[in-house]
Symmetry: C2
Subunit: 136 residues, 2 copies
């Protein structure tokens, strides 16, 4: 159990009711957490959003609201969408690199004569005794 | 210029002032756009966020706020963070697949004798005349 007022009720300078919608998700030892979501969504919108969610999922919702609020404070123009764009670019780049590498393997498998230099030089080393036999 | 009241002022049933903070980013032909951000952030928070951003960046900010609000309406528990998690998982999977494929290429380059069957059979075909010469 959390003793005293939760971070939200402390912030809002009000009594913390026994059925406070914030108390489980905004404990008094982390006042910054509530300050963030309050700054972006406002207390009443956060309360409304939490109330519309089944209780077992509210902790996750509070966590993601906090994450999004922090992103928006750090990047007021792009917020979370900035993170999405970065991840999307990284994914595009990894997928294109993967396609390139898979194509390279396909070429190596189908045309082993186009294999890399080390393979060719090993091949020549193996053939060398036969070449010399052939020449004599 | 946008004629008449913007979507925000229509929604809020108020006169649209000439210096309306919403009018450029919430045109009257897309009332849903303002309804979304209003539902998640509230009109005053959206206005405050836009006012804190230099004017040339406000359109981008309105767009990302709209995107995040839509995500939160569609997924009240995870919102945008759900999209981030999905992209992150896809990126992890692509990067792990890439690392595996790159390791496969490294093995093929360093140990061509471990190359696939077609390569070995071609190699044997090439060696065949020398083998027969050697035997006679």
């Amino acid at each position: 159990m959390i003793s005293g007022r939760c971070a939200a009720c402390k912030y809002l300078r009000r009594r913390c009711p026994s059925d406070c919608i914030f108390s489980l998700y905004f404990p008094p030892n982390d006042p910054q957490r509530f300050a963030c979501v309050h700054r972006i969504y406002g207390a009443s919108n956060v309360a409304k959003m939490l109330q519309q969610i089944p209780p077992p999922l509210r902790a996750e919702a509070a966590e993601t609201l906090y994450f999004e609020a922090r992103c928006r404070i750090e990047d007021p123009v792009y917020g979370c969408v900035g993170v999405i764009s970065q991840l999307y670019e990284q994914l595009q780049s990894a997928e294109s690199e993967l396609a390139k590498t898979q194509a390279e393997i396909a070429v190596l498998n189908c045309n082993p004569q186009e294999a890399p230099i080390e393979a060719n030089s090993n091949f020549n080393t193996l053939l060398a005794p036969f070449h010399s036999n052939f020449l004599v």
